[in-house]
């Protein structure tokens, strides 16, 4: 009995709700009727409400997860992490209620000094990972990849004011690379991509390479 009840709440009822909501949503596309339009709009509103409730759930989950993490690991770093999360959340909420909004000096200071700085730091970190990936991809294993890497380096030099100051010739060389070899290579790449895409699509269609299903 308990199992049947559990199946009803977890499977049957959601399926029923989906069917009830989905049919008017589909019919709205094809039938011009005020009742269907009204149902469509109502379902849309409820969808937004559920989505907002989802965000509320996410905030609760964030705190629960951090707390569980702290209990699980029992080390100083996770404790500090949890304390920082709580402290900043408290500051944010207190600031909102005391000053009546977020457009004040205290919040702006918090935003600029903490949030924006750490965001910039992390984007910088991401840039390092991108550099590492680019290096791995463009390692000069052949003459072609060496030429590509050298061209990229010269163009980077042209884009940096420091290099332009030290090596004024780098601007002209960078511009030439951008205007001629780069444009030619881009056009060639687009043509190759077009051919390649058609080829891959055909291979997929005839099941030669990537089609997931093979007829038994």
């Amino acid at each position: 009995m308990k199992m049947a009840s559990s199946t009803f709440w977890k499977r049957d009822l959601p399926l029923l709700l989906i069917i009830i909501c989905a049919i008017p949503m589909l019919l709205w596309r094809y039938i011009d009727h005020p009742v269907i339009k009204a149902i469509y709009e109502e379902v849309g509103t409820w969808s937004s409400i559920i989505s907002m409730l989802g965000w509320g759930l996410a905030v609760i989950y964030l705190f629960q997860g951090e707390y569980a993490n702290m209990r699980q690991k029992d080390d100083m770093t996770t404790k500090i992490s949890f304390v920082v999360l709580c402290a900043f959340s408290f500051l944010l909420v207190a600031n909102y209620f005391i000053t009546g909004g977020l457009y004040n000096d205290a919040y702006q200071w918090w935003y600029t000094a903490f949030y924006k700085s750490q965001s910039q730091a992390f984007y910088g970190l991401m840039f390092l990972y991108l550099c590492s990936a680019s290096y791995r991809m463009l390692r000069a294993r052949s003459l072609e990849s060496f030429v590509l890497m050298a061209a990229g380096l010269l163009y980077l030099m042209r884009s940096s004011s420091m290099f332009v100051l030290w090596f004024p010739w780098s601007r002209g060389v960078g511009e030439w690379i951008m205007d001629y070899p780069n444009k030619a290579a881009t056009t060639a790449a687009v043509i190759s991509m077009a051919f390649g895409s058609v080829l891959i699509a055909v291979r997929q269609m005839i099941g030669r390479e990537r089609t997931a299903i093979e007829v038994a």
Binding site: R29, D32, A58, A68, E214, V215
Partner: protein
Amino acid sequence: MGLFYTNRIVEFIWLVIMFVSVWYYIRKAMNDEPLPKIRTIPATLAIEEGIGRSLEMGKPVHFSMGSDGASLTGSGMSTTIASLGMLRFMTKNCAMMGVREIVHLPSQGYAIPLVEGAVREGYLEAGKPEMFRRGDMHYYGNLTAAFTPGVYESFAREGVGLFVHAGSIITYSFPVLEAAKIHGAISVGGTPRWTATYIFAIACDHLFIGEELLAASAQISGNKMLTSGLASEELWKYMAVGLFIIGFLLQAAGIDFASLIKM
């Protein structure tokens, strides 16, 4: 007249044909009739290999659907369901081998219970529900600027033997996959989104191309309904290409096919 939009009749007929094909394959699945066979996807085998490797190295396995990769609307929904199937399979394998699994949750709050449910079910299927730990479900909020460094930090602090990154991922997959590589992980990933596949092709050791992610999920779950959905999707694919070729030929012959299908 006036009840039907006159410029959507062909579209409606197309929809009905799709429904019929789905219904046909669902009936086949329900009657236990043979369905089209799905070939083994190499990246799926790599996941099992990676879990074994993590066990040998004593490092955890990480899973992510991306910072915003759990869409439950539009075309992203099928990918989300496929990724959840993948997660469940991974969790079950990790539990059976005794490997710790860390899940980096997507930003969408409404998807959290689904992800947690998939993990719990995976542990339950392996007969080890006690292995579930809330502290291994990492949530970072709605900002990529928080998600990406959070994942880095987790790799650096906990270690990583295998990183599976699969879903309707849009941005910032590349640095995360690179971080996994730097920390010595095998990376397996993919998305059915054609425009983002190149990121995975560059950065992953093993790749799900296009619909392979959906197929792999159907195969490892053993769910006949998912396989029936894939079979009908395969049919639509051929129909769409057929329509394209017919349209191309008719237009070339001077017949206004574009107006015809806009009826």
